[in-house]
Amino acid sequence: MNYKKLSILELHNKIINKEISILELTNAVIFEANKVKSSNAINKMNAENAIAFSKEMEKVLNTNSLLYGIPYFAKDNFATKGLETTSSSNILKGYIPPFNATSISKLEDKGAVLIGKAALDELGMGGVGLYSCNGIITNPADDKRIVGGSSSGSAYLVAKGIVPFATGSDTGDSIRKPASFNNIVGFKPSYGAISRYGLLPYSPSLDTVGFFTRNVTDMAIVCDATFGYDTKDATSHENNSKNMFEKIEGLSKAVKFGYIKKVIDDLNEDVKNAYYNLFETLKSNGFEVKEVEFKQELLDSLSAIYKMISFSESVSTNANLDGIKFGRRSTGTDYVEIITNSRTEGFGEEVKQRFLVGALNLNKENQTIYLNKAKQVRRLIVEELNKVFKEVDILIIPPTDKVAPLIEETKIKSTPEKEYLNDILTLANFNGSPSITIPFLKEGKLGIGININAKPKEDLLCLQAAKMLEDIIGIKNEIVED
């Protein structure tokens, strides 16, 4: 069965019209997933359970749920009951959660079929796809290039057409940057729109649950299924964006678009021109597009602020990984040595270095100098964004200024005055904005996305704007064929 190019909606229609059976689809997906095992994109398959679940669901066809029988992968930092969850870290090898993340339970309630767990940069740390304990994951369109991360496996599997959607998590840009590198859609909803209960935390003041799909309408479907307040997550909220699938076409012509001129002007010539052409097209479609101001010193500080805050938080959120209660334990003469050895042998280089920088910021003498300062600047960034969203409804940002870099290029630094462009997506983590990347430009099989942001908690507006832009740009449902 060739299902790979089909969207969630198309698969749904085929299921309810009985053109394909859920079991047949599940089996086809398992077959295709097994074919890409050497990509390292998959940490664990859930084949037996997926087949049993599909058989159960075929008994009663729930035509009301658009996700009924739809296969997906979960990033391996989502707790899945009875299924190994390692977050691509050796220290968590063998850990079997006794509960589901709320988002996983919600998807299960809607009848979505969990095919397996997708690999990531260890514990969500890294933007490349090179830091999973199970080996590097490369771009499905060109194995000399990065796939991006940290939601690397999820991006790979959606871009390759193995599943029509996958879960991801986004602390800095972990969904939106790989989406840009892979011609797919990646959405980080508003902070707290989707419960984080059961998401292994990296940096709780920034972490957000989100998804990859291959078009914006499918994204609305998975968001409708998973948004909502959860008593188990103290930072979750009741979001007013509901029935987003039904309302996806309803963007008002009064919506104002904005961009930061210096950001667009700092892009390479071709990409810059593409943005200005798009702005002209928007204007000719009746939309207002205006230039907005943003203090450059704040943009230049994004990378440092991100490191100061997220690395510090990661030290404390991962303090429970000690090899004592669960996961992999190393030997030692006493508990201090056992924990130290378990952590030293269990974590990869990138993670350990981030912990060290985090510990540096958490050191008593540095807490005021660095960490408190970072949080003050975070407020300035948020206030600057508030000003932007007083002037415009949608802020357009370039998620990347070029196609996925070659692996060896990741070590090369960009020109210092343009370095801030690498971290610009963190804006939406600092203020909690909904932020979506959709395909924009294509260079052969590779691509460059465009990123669309709205005021926090205006998720529907963000998706509607993305849908309108998707229609104008005209790239969707892309897959990398064998």
Partner: protein, 95 residues
């Protein structure tokens, strides 16, 4: 410039050990990191309150104390690398 010992102590705070080569690499990277952090230190934050979460309205209430989650003891023990009876075990330290 902080010395190697400083970083070794920091590593110990996070219950980690680094080899000499790793520490050398970290010390070398610190200069870049310091330069990066200095960009932040230059920003005027007089009278600016730190922001801990994206929104100020988070954690403004306490939920009802009725949510309880319990995990079956057997499952907890089965996830532990070693256990005995009702307990997760580690190395015996009191002889």
């Amino acid at each position: 410039m902080k010395d190697k010992k400083y970083y070794e102590d920091l590593a110990q705070d996070s219950m980690l050990k680094f080899s000499d080569a790793e520490i050398d690499e970290i010390v070398a990277k610190q200069e870049d990191l310091k330069k990066e952090f200095e960009k932040v230190l230059k920003i005027d934050t007089t009278n600016i309150k730190p922001l801990f979460y994206p929104y100020d309205d988070i954690h403004l209430y306490l939920r009802e104390d009725e949510e309880t989650t319990t995990i079956d003891q057997k499952i907890i023990l089965s996830n532990a690398p070693t256990s005995e009876g009702d307990f997760v075990t580690i190395k015996k330290v009191v002889k």
